[in-house]
Amino acid sequence: MSEFDQTSIHPIMPPAGGARTSGIEIVRREDFSDVTYLLELAHPMLARAARPGQFVIVMSHANGERIPLTIADFDRDRGTITLVIQAVGKTTRQMQQDCVAGTHLISVTGPMGEPSHIANVGKVVCVGGGLGVAPVYPQARAFKEAGAYVIGVIGFRDRGLVFWDDKFRRVCDEFIVCTNDGSAGIKGLVTDGLRLAIEQHPDIGEVVAIGPPVMMKACAEVTRPRGIKTTVSLNPVMVDGTGMCGGCRVKLHDGMKFACVDGPDFDGHQVDFDDLISRLHRFAQEEKLAVAKWTESCKARLDRGD
């Protein structure tokens, strides 16, 4: 159990007016590519409470499923939180279609999980791959605010998918963009960028890696022989996000942990990534069925001309 620091909690204000029956309003939407989109949500209490590394559980409509999404940014002055979502399954595709500014999500609960341990660790490398680029940003910003020397390493498939490089540049002392085809920054994967950073700085205190499990695994393997502390953020299948279902249990070398309440941050050298990857395929069949059925219904609606 973590040491609880009362002073690190931000003051809150009572919620204005009665119950939030209509849900949480989407105040802004931005599309980064044909699969990646950003939603900014109005939720002042959540914006005040959120800290880097935490996540929310979102339900987009009444018959929807509860999906965990890492908080990519929060703005306490505007009273908003930002989510960056990749359309991969039925729910995230449907949200891509339905969620525009002015509409509401039926349920947004959080912040969940233990916040990341942010401190002035000297030099820190913040690595974000693909969808992990967004959630690693608040960590980079927090490390900078804590006085650390921040090296940002973010990776994309190609130039067209790059987003938030300007935001990273503002909070990073050094910044490396990696693309698979070399169309922006260096040619290679984030692990190449990470290696580059490590070669140039033998005194790195910590590496934070967020992205797909294979990417986090690869980063952990880069740092393991060098003994550099490596923190990863895990995003397994969840239902409640409050420690109640155990669906998000992850295998660490020293036993079982629940990502929702013990994490989502874990020591990357302790995580059994193969197990994590296998468990992420738990509902592969059902997911396929749901996507097929949904695509069909969209097509039918299109044909009817709704």
């Binding site: 969940m112 409640d240 409050t242 468990r279």
Partner: protein, 500 residues
């Protein structure tokens, strides 16, 4: 009228109609269909109207049982409902899910010679009638000026909220899920407790003026300390439940196809996985389901699995049916529906099909040795009794431990097992903060949690200096001292404002 005796009352307990097993395993409709008026009247005649009723003492919330049964006999059903709701807002729920055989019915003197009076069935009948007729007992409440925050909308929180609202407090209940009800909603399946009954009972709270805020994770969105210091609550009750499922720490637990009963039930009850893909939440149940454990949660998990289309459902328990903690009725229902019981058996490893899924379990046989701390005979492995058990889903229903969130985010004192430490009056280590239910005691029953919520409410009233009778209909307030701490009662609100 001559006093009734054991010889003059109807000898047979009035049976409760139930859905036939073959039909009910194909639907989620209620299994026990409930009494009609005639059955209720007949069963009420079996009550001896004891002058010092043991059943009232046996009820965790002390419902005046002979009192409400007498009203049924008088055919004044509204009055019967008033008597129950004096002590218990949730008659329709408790009539269904209370373990009456260990409580009121367990101590009923009729039960010494015959079957005890079917108190639970009568309570349910009255509760259902109240819902159908739309009876609600919203009292006139003198505002006390106090604000009460309740964490968790399960049985403990609901009971506490109702009592505080009746005491004139402004009550806000916070729930982390998107629907209120806690374990009533996510844990207990529809065929034992229909969702419409939960909705109706929760609606009574709203009518009492209680505000329910869903999607609010207390501890993380704001802390318990902040509720007192910044959100302006004069007292807080924590009823977050035990919740965290236990696993066995045996090889293979991470395979796909292994899940907790909590997860299975939440997916089916709260998220309606039975309606996938119309509802987005899948369950992914195999053809053969082995449930480890034999408590009420295990029974629910097994019976849900059958309704979700499992061909075979096994109950794997390391002791025997004698030690099974499940209610007898639940065991019978599960057996009738086709659950296959494997007593004195425990898994030691879950086997991989080579692709990360469950293909079976390696189990061992057990035998019973000396009694353990719970008084039940301790199961001991039989050497060399290993065997393979084919199944493609393994569900753990072996109990829960404390939910960690409040402990992670507050300075509140926990005990060695991480449950919240309270005194006998439910006060925690933080001033003005009370706790009750499973988060204090560990996994127990709905009615015990409600009892704890009511005890905590009484403590909160004492702490805040609210002097009410605890009853809505008897105006005992007139009998109370006219002064509180030397201040006239009617000026209490004024006093409160000036001290702020």
């Amino acid at each position: 009228m001559a006093r009734k005796t054991i010889r003059t009352i109807p000898q047979e307990r009035t049976p409760m109609p139930v859905q036939e097993p073959a039909a009910r395993v194909c639907n989620f409709h209620e299994v026990a269909l409930g009494y009609g008026e005639d059955s209720a009247l007949l069963e009420s005649e079996r009550c001896l109207m004891c002058p010092q009723p043991a059943c009232v003492a046996g009820c965790p919330v002390h419902i005046d049982i002979p009192g409400f049964i007498a009203k049924i006999i008088d055919r004044d059903y509204r009055a019967a409902y008033n008597v129950i709701s004096d002590s218990n807002l949730l008659a329709a729920i408790c009539g269904r899910v209370c373990p009456q055989e260990d409580q009121c019915e367990g101590v009923c003197p009729v039960g010494e010679t015959l079957e005890p009076v079917a108190i639970g069935r009568l309570e349910r009948w009255v509760g259902d009638l109240a819902i159908r007729e739309g009876w609600s007992n919203v009292p006139w409440v003198e505002p006390s000026g106090f604000r009460i925050g309740i964490v968790g909308s399960g049985p403990a929180g609901i009971a506490c909220a109702a009592d505080m609202a009746k005491a004139g407090c402004e009550v806000v209940v916070y729930e982390a899920f998107h629907k209120p009800g806690g374990v009533l909603r996510y844990g207990i399946p529809d065929f034992r407790l229909p969702e419409s009954v939960i909705d109706a009972e929760i609606d009574k709270l709203v009518q009492l003026g209680v505000q329910i805020e869903c999607n609010t994770l207390v501890g993380r969105l704001f802390t318990i300390e902040q509720m007192i210091d910044e959100l302006g609550f004069d007292a807080v009750f924590i009823g977050t439940g035990a919740g965290t499922p236990r696993f066995m720490d045996i090889p293979g637990e991470f395979l796909n196809g292994v899940l907790s009963a909590n997860e299975l039930l939440t997916r089916c009850n709260l998220m309606q996985a039975g309606d996938f893909p119309h509802h987005d939440t899948p369950l992914g149940l195999g053809r053969r389901v082995a449930v480890i454990g034999s408590g009420n949660t295990a029974m629910d998990a097994m019976r849900v699995s059958l309704r979700m289309g499992a061909e075979k459902v096994y109950c794997i328990y390391r002791r025997t049916i004698e030690e099974s903690p499940a209610r007898k009725e639940e065991l019978e229902h599960a057996e009738e529906e086709g659950v296959e019981f494997h007593w004195l058996t425990t898994p030691v490893e879950i086997l991989d099909d080579g692709q990360g899924n469950v293909r079976g379990m390696r189990c061992i046989r057990m035998e019973l040795g000396e009694p353990d701390s719970s008084g039940r005979r301790r199961p001991v492995p039989v050497a060399g009794s290993d065997f393979e058990f084919e199944t493609d889903t393994v569900v753990y229903a072996i109990g829960t431990s404390a939910n960690p969130i409040i402990g992670q985010t507050s300075k509140i004192k926990l005990n060695k097992r991480s449950f919240i430490e309270t005194d006998e009056r439910m006060a925690t280590s933080l001033a003005g903060v009370y706790a009750g239910g499973d988060i204090v005691t560990g996994g127990a029953t709905v009615i015990l949690a409600m009892g704890a919520g009511r005890t905590a409410a009484q403590s909160m009233k004492d702490y805040l200096g609210i002097r009410d009778s605890g009853s809505v209909y008897q105006d005992l307030r007139a009998d109370l001292d006219n002064c509180l701490f030397g201040i006239p009662r009617q000026e209490r609100n004024f006093v409160r404002i000036t001290t702020m």
